[in-house]
């Protein structure tokens, strides 16, 4: 079957007006009708720019210099308009909240039709039709504020499917979703592609999650250039993804660690299809010989939460929650949105106080402390550093908390020097905040909390939306803080990789209740908890089940040997 090309880049180079260097360099890429392509690459590699060239935002909204040609469905983009392109290319943006411009689900799905000045009677059946395709037909009257991230994304998808668009373009579809919803989204994309027979382009850096459903081709970008254009199996067997800072699927990491050399014929792109027979012996013997005994450490309880209840008006947000945190712990607080994680964090910080139950901080009932006093014992780092940064200069930002708490000048100087040095920001202390990278901004916010010398730091989704490189940068820095300075850290997250790699214990929330509090490997091998908390089985679990070995001990062995290896490296 000969397929006709639908996206054609030829010697395409693009430079943003405000930049000196081109962001895309000499791109030659052809995508054929009906193909499903993953565009992979670390942040800043130009993959979003490439997407914007396809949907017409470049050059329509972002002017710049274009050399070479980019044809979509046979038309040169620089000669057509964004409106004519939007009837061929449907784009689902990363930020599903910002993309939801209508005031109700129906209104948002109808948005493109409204702009076409379509009479309302024609609109209604089409809206219903699109909504049914994504399974949102029951929600047409709902307002956006009560929808989950996954539902909003479905609405966005329904909103672009009217015109029989030929290309569906997804810009980081997994960024804002919890693991289970992420799987559902990938599944839905797959179904729609099969039903409508359209071309699908997914832009992501989460390789393993996208491969939950098969893709035809993977295109790897680096520094604005295409460095690989291969079938998934080929790419996974080459070493290129690890070199380029893309996270390898966990099961492949597990196989490689045990010394197995996976080949293309083994079909490594999916955990359920990969041929394991010849590796079974090697795997089992490697992981059963990992020494998982830990040196005994005496633990001192810092924070003790006892039978805490909390309600907003009449909605119970926390229901009889109890747990305790020891000094030097690294704990993952997991659960889906609305499960009570953020309420718990606010409660620990003292912004909210429990309706019932008690919280003890180093043995003292924390009702004795004001929010201000608690702020110096428990630090809270928000997900988006831009929501925390107030001052122009790094040093001022870090000293802000101390100034607000009326500390003496010497104390401020001493504390910020210490905090900046711990965060490796001392040489940059006089830099403006606006010029540093995302990872560095994150470090600035952490330094500004560290300056207050807290006992515990709570980090809300510290790596959300970041690629593997920044993720590793942030997480290894936090690990160092924990190891070298004994700082207790709570991660609020739904990233299972983070929990596996960097934490010892997981506290799981669902519907305001604490439904699990145990070692990470035990939590991750408990089906009941995983389901209730909207988590997903890691591929390690699936691997263990396929090998017929106990998942719990397998995951434990993997975690221990993975950490040992990481520490040897560093």
């Amino acid at each position: 079957m000969s397929k006709s090309p639908i996206v054609e880049f030829k010697d395409f180079t693009f430079k943003y007006k405000s930049q000196l260097e081109p962001t895309l360099k000499n791109i030659n890429l052809t995508i054929y009708e009906g193909e499903k392509v993953l565009i992979l690459g670390p942040s800043g590699c130009g993959k979003s720019t490439l997407a914007n060239c396809i949907n017409g935002l470049i050059p329509f909204s972002y002017p710049g210099e274009i050399h070479g040609s980019c044809k979509i469905a046979g038309n040169e983009t620089s000669h057509s308009s964004i409106f004519s392109l939007s009837s061929v290319v449907g784009t689902v943006l990363q930020d599903s909240d910002a993309q939801f411009v209508g005031l109700s689900v129906g209104g948002d799905i109808a948005y493109a039709l409204e702009n076409d000045n379509m009479p309302r009677e024609e609109m209604l059946p089409r809206v219903l039709n699109s909504a049914t395709l994504v399974g949102m037909q029951e929600f047409l009257e709902h307002v956006p504020y009560n929808l989950s991230g996954g539902q909003k994304q479905r609405v966005s998808l329904a909103g672009i499917m009217h015109e029989h668009v030929k290309i569906l373009l997804f810009d980081e579809p997994l960024a804002a979703l919890d693991p289970q919803m992420g799987n559902q989204a990938i599944d839905l994309i797959d179904k729609i592609q099969k039903n409508n027979n359209c071309t699908v382009i997914i832009i992501e850096h989460r390789l393993e999650d996208v491969l939950y459903r098969p893709v035809d081709r993977i295109i790897l970008l680096e520094d604005g250039q295409i460095i690989a254009d291969m079938k998934p199996n080929e790419l996974l067997c080459s070493n290129i993804i690890v070199e380029k800072g893309i996270r390898e699927p966990l099961y492949l990491q597990a196989l490689k660690m045990a010394g197995c050399n996976v080949t293309i014929d083994d079909n490594p792109s999916n955990i359920f299809d990969i041929k394991l027979d010849k590796y079974k012996e090697k795997l089992v013997s490697y992981y059963s010989n990992v020494d998982t005994s830990k040196p005994y450490k005496e633990k001192k309880v810092v924070l003790n939460v006892k039978n805490v209840d909390f309600s907003y008006d009449k909605n119970k947000a926390l229901d009889n929650v109890s747990f305790s945190i020891n000094k030097g712990d690294k704990i993952a607080v997991i659960g889906k949105n609305g499960a009570g994680k953020s309420t718990m964090a606010k409660l620990i910080c003292g912004i909210l106080r429990p309706d019932k139950g008690e919280v003890h901080l180093e043995g003292v009932n924390y009702l004795n402390y004001s929010i201000k006093e608690l702020g110096q014992k428990i630090g809270y780092v928000m997900q988006n550093p831009n929501q925390m940064l107030v001052k122009d200069i790094i040093k001022d930002e870090v000293s802000l908390g101390l100034v607000l708490n009326n500390k003496s000048e010497e104390e401020i100087e001493k504390n910020i020097e210490e905090a900046l040095k711990k965060c490796d920001l001392w040489p940059m202390r006089n830099w403006p905040v606006s010029v540093v990278s995302y990872g560095q901004k994150k470090r600035v916010t952490i330094a500004s909390i560290l300056a207050m010398n807290p006992e515990i730091i709570i980090l809300d989704e510290p790596t959300a939306g970041q690629d593997y490189r920044v993720y590793t940068e942030i997480m290894s820095f936090l690990e160092k803080l924990n190891k070298d300075f004994g700082i207790t850290i709570l991660f609020i997250t739904h990233d299972m990789h983070l929990a596996i790699e960097y934490t010892d214990r997981a506290i799981v929330f669902a519907d305001g209740k604490c439904i699990g509090d145990d070692s990470v490997f035990k939590i991750l091998s408990d089906n009941d908890i995983i389901e209730r908390a909207s988590l997903k089985q890691t591929s390690l679990y699936s691997l263990a089940t396929r090998l017929g070995i106990n998942p719990e001990s397998f995951i434990e062995s993997f975690i221990v040997s993975e950490r040992r290896k990481r520490h040897e490296k560093s």
Binding site: N55, G56, L57, F60, S61, I82, S86, S87, L93, D95, A98, Q99, F100, V101, G102, L103, S104, G106, G107, A110, Y111, A112, E114, N115, D116, N117, M118, P119, R120, E121, M123, V143, P144, Y145, N146, I160, K346, C349, G350, I351, K372, L374, G375, Q376, I378, G379, Y380, M382, N384, N386, Q387, L389, V390, G401, L402, L404, N405, S448, I449, M452
Partner: protein, 285 residues
């Protein structure tokens, strides 16, 4: 997530809610002219009664609108008092009545005419308020956008209104989050513990990150709108705008009649300037 309770984002169930956006906007525009054109009690009073009935018929959430009502009534009474202080004889011109009811000093006197004039003025302002309140409570922002477009405003204006309502709750959520993190860092937002000026300064600290993150969002929103063809044509249709139904037709007749009456009243007033009529009813009492 909090919903703005005075403004409904989705269509309500009652009679007035069910009218189309265009009907509501046109009726409101005509009624505003109607209430502003005179000081005549027989013109203002019926509308006042109708607007109160309308508000009740909309089955509002009384707890949410109560503070607003108190606030507006208070402001209007204050306005009347100040009006009187500025010119205690302000009613003379309209009523011709100078009977003194109370006299505190030579300047501060209350005449029957002034009292009557100021009461009508208060009633007029309250009528304008209650009509507006009924309008605001009955219409959704999308209907407003559709209605504005249908009476001839460019549709981009309506869209601005709609988008503003869409993102106000998101921004207020951002504000809350930023406030939380700042409080943890020692920012004192407790009204009892800080002076007003200090608090104002601290609010500014919260506003900086709020503005930065909101700008990020604006870029995303405008991209999303471009990608779905916003601004493509000269005209735009509305999903939320119901086709004209029987009740809309009845109301069309009503607002057309009122509009004709207003036109007659205003034009005839220009041709033969009329003596303000309120005194007639004063004499009758």
């Amino acid at each position: 997530m909090k919903n703005l309770n005075i403004i409904n984002l989705t269509k309500g169930e009652t009679f007035l809610h069910q009218l189309s956006g265009t009907t509501k906007v046109r009726l409101f525009a005509v009624l505003m002219v109607y209430v502003m054109m005179s000081f005549d009690l027989p013109i203002i009073l019926p509308l006042f009664v109708f607007s109160i009935i309308s508000i009740i018929s909309l089955k509002p959430h009384w707890k949410t609108i109560q503070p607003l009502i108190f606030f507006v009534v208070f402001l209007n009474v204050l306005n009347i008092v100040l009006y009187w202080l500025a010119n205690p004889l302000c009613g003379l011109e309209y009523t011709g009545d100078q009977t003194i009811l109370f006299a505190y000093t030579d300047y501060l006197i209350v005449t029957r005419g002034t009292l009557w004039f100021l009461s009508i003025r208060l009633l007029k302002m309250l009528t304008a308020f209650s009509t507006s309140l009924a309008f605001i409570m009955s219409i959704t922002p999308s209907e407003l956008a559709a209605g504005l477009t249908n009476i001839g405003f460019p549709y981009k204006l309506g869209s601005i209104v709609e988008i503003a309502f869409r993102y106000i709750p998101d921004i207020s959520r951002d504000y809350e989050n930023i406030a939380v993190s700042m409080q943890c860092r020692g920012l004192e937002l407790d009204a009892k513990k800080t002076k007003p000026i200090e608090r104002l300064k601290q609010m500014v600290i919260i506003l900086i990150p709020l503005i930065v993150t909101s700008f990020d969002r604006v870029g995303n929103i405008s991209n999303a709108m471009d990608l779905r063809g916003f601004g493509k044509g000269k005209k735009r249709s509305y999903y939320s705008e119901y086709p004209e139904r029987r009740n809309d037709k009845i109301f069309k007749l009503i607002y057309c009649l009122i509009a004709l009456f207003c036109a007659y009243y205003i034009i005839s007033g220009f041709i033969t300037p009329r003596v303000p009529k309120m005194w007639i009813y004063w004499r009758c009492l």
